[in-house]
């Protein structure tokens, strides 16, 4: 406890910060006031402490680096679109939306790899359920095989008979006319003999040319 009637220098130094802040009781303040009148050293300490508080408390002591304000404003502007910590703004939804979109694209790619869509033209269809030992006719200049007697056999002078299994092994495809029943496409449907809209009316030469390209 400080004796308020008369304080010595050590007691003054101990309380001088509180004194400057006005945080001492009235009797102590009075005692310190009296001490300062007679003690030059403590008066110097008081003046110096007040000077320190005044100088460092000045706004001019708080300098910021050049460009600080501009950089701060820029960073705030960059981040200001995300409000709060929740999902309250439109931009906050971008992340999950983008994730879903990426997932969808990824699934699409996988789907595309694993699922082969039906051929849209019977010219590209390999044929199915063709009896392997069925005798078919092939000829030079075409990679199409036919049943015997088909009017669309190309270069009949070179025609020869082989089994369907051999024809397919050698890269021949069934004739879309005479072997239509063995073709199935996405447009015609399975064994859709009535729907000839996917085929050109006079398309045999066209068929051959496409097959050649393949």
């Amino acid at each position: 406890m400080v004796n308020h009637e008369a304080v010595n220098c050590e007691q003054v130094w101990r309380e001088i910060s509180n004194y400057v802040d006005g945080d001492v009781d009235a009797p102590l303040r009075l005692a310190m006031d009296e001490h300062f009148k007679t003690c030059a050293r403590c008066a110097s300490v008081l003046a110096g402490t007040r000077n320190v508080v005044q100088l460092y408390g000045d706004e001019r002591m708080l300098e910021v680096p050049a460009g600080f304000s501009r950089r701060l404003e820029k960073r705030l502007a960059k981040n200001a679109v995300v409000k709060g910590s929740g999902w309250s703004s439109w931009s906050a939804w971008l992340v999950p939306v983008a994730a879903v979109a990426l997932l969808a694209v990824g699934l699409g790619v996988v789907n595309k790899i694993s699922f082969k869509p039906p051929a849209k033209s019977i010219l590209a269809a390999p044929g199915h359920d063709i009896p392997p030992d069925m005798l078919v006719v092939v000829s030079d200049g075409s990679k199409v095989f036919h049943v015997a007697g088909c009017p669309f056999i190309h270069d009949k002078a070179t025609e020869r008979t082989i089994t369907a299994k051999e024809a397919m092994r050698d890269g021949y495809v069934p004739c879309s006319r005479c072997m239509r029943q063995y073709l199935r496409t996405g447009l015609t449907g399975p064994h859709d003999d009535d729907d000839a809209s996917a085929e050109p009316e006079e398309g045999h030469e066209e068929e051959v040319s496409v097959v050649r390209v393949k």
């Binding site: 050590e10 130094w13 101990r14 001088i16 910060s17 509180n18 400057v20 802040d21 945080d23 030059a40 050293r41 008066a43 110097s44 300490v45 003046a47 110096g48 402490t49 000077n51 320190v52 508080v53 005044q54 100088l55 460092y56 408390g57 000045d58 706004e59 001019r60 002591m61 708080l62 300098e63 910021v64 680096p65 600080f68 304000s69 950089r71 701060l72 404003e73 960073r75 705030l76 502007a77 981040n79 200001a80 679109v81 995300v82 409000k83 709060g84 910590s85 309250s88």
Partner: protein, 224 residues
């Protein structure tokens, strides 16, 4: 004589009202007004970070991060506290967290006179300077004076510097300073006393070392 005080109070009230309006607007979602809200405090925020981190680059980054955290948590701000105090406390927390995490802040040395006084429980005897003069606040217009004062502050031990910075430069009260730093009110008072006396001694020594040799009042009439 009371007129300027009334004008000042009215001005302060107007500023306070404007600040409250800005806070409400930002809390309602007008985020573009946030910079206007914090602009008056950017120097204080930076200074608080610098006092703790002692590195300009780190302090600027911490100050920016603190501003962003304040923005993200603006809805949690309640009017019971001053906005500036809330902002400074966020900055102090951010800076202390960085210091703990990075451990890059160099340990500062204290000169012989003060190194023996690192224990805050011991008494501190201010030096007796027969020829020390007050530094008028006008001197702060000079950059070199500000630099000298900053250097003097920088030589203080961390625990003293932080308390002094928050109390005397950021103008937090004793209780707010204690809360910001997570120490007791008694510790704040003890450290503040020591910091003020040490700075007083440092500035006094600055006269002897010629820090303020070119100030026009060097040979003035205010010897202590």
């Amino acid at each position: 004589m009371s007129q300027p005080s009334i004008v000042l109070n009215n001005s302060e009230q107007a500023v306070g009202a404007r600040e409250r309006d800005l806070i409400s607007a930002v809390q309602r979602g007008q985020s573009e007004l946030f910079y206007e809200l914090v602009r008056p405090y950017e120097r204080r925020v930076y200074a608080a970070a610098l006092a703790i981190l002692r590195n300009e680059h780190d302090a600027e980054d911490a100050a920016q991060e603190a501003m962003l955290k304040a923005f993200k948590n603006i809805r949690q701000f309640r009017a019971e506290a001053r906005f500036s105090t809330w902002l400074i406390q966020i900055t102090v927390n951010e800076s202390l967290m960085r210091r703990r995490r990075e451990r890059t802040v160099p340990m500062e040395a204290i000169d012989g006179h003060r190194s023996g006084r690192g224990d805050e429980e011991s008494e501190y005897a201010p030096r007796d300077f027969a020829d020390w003069r007050e530094i008028p606040s006008e001197a702060l217009e000079r950059k070199e004076v500000r630099q000298r004062l900053a250097e003097a502050l920088g030589t203080l031990d961390r625990k003293y510097r932080e308390v002094f910075m928050l109390r005397d430069m950021e103008h937090l009260n004793i209780q707010e300073t204690a809360e910001a730093l997570g120490i007791s009110v008694a510790s704040v008072k003890t450290r503040l006393l020591r910091a003020r006396l040490m700075l007083r001694d440092l500035l006094a020594a600055g006269w002897e070392q010629g820090w303020f040799s070119r100030l026009p009042f060097e040979k003035g009439t205010k010897p202590w």
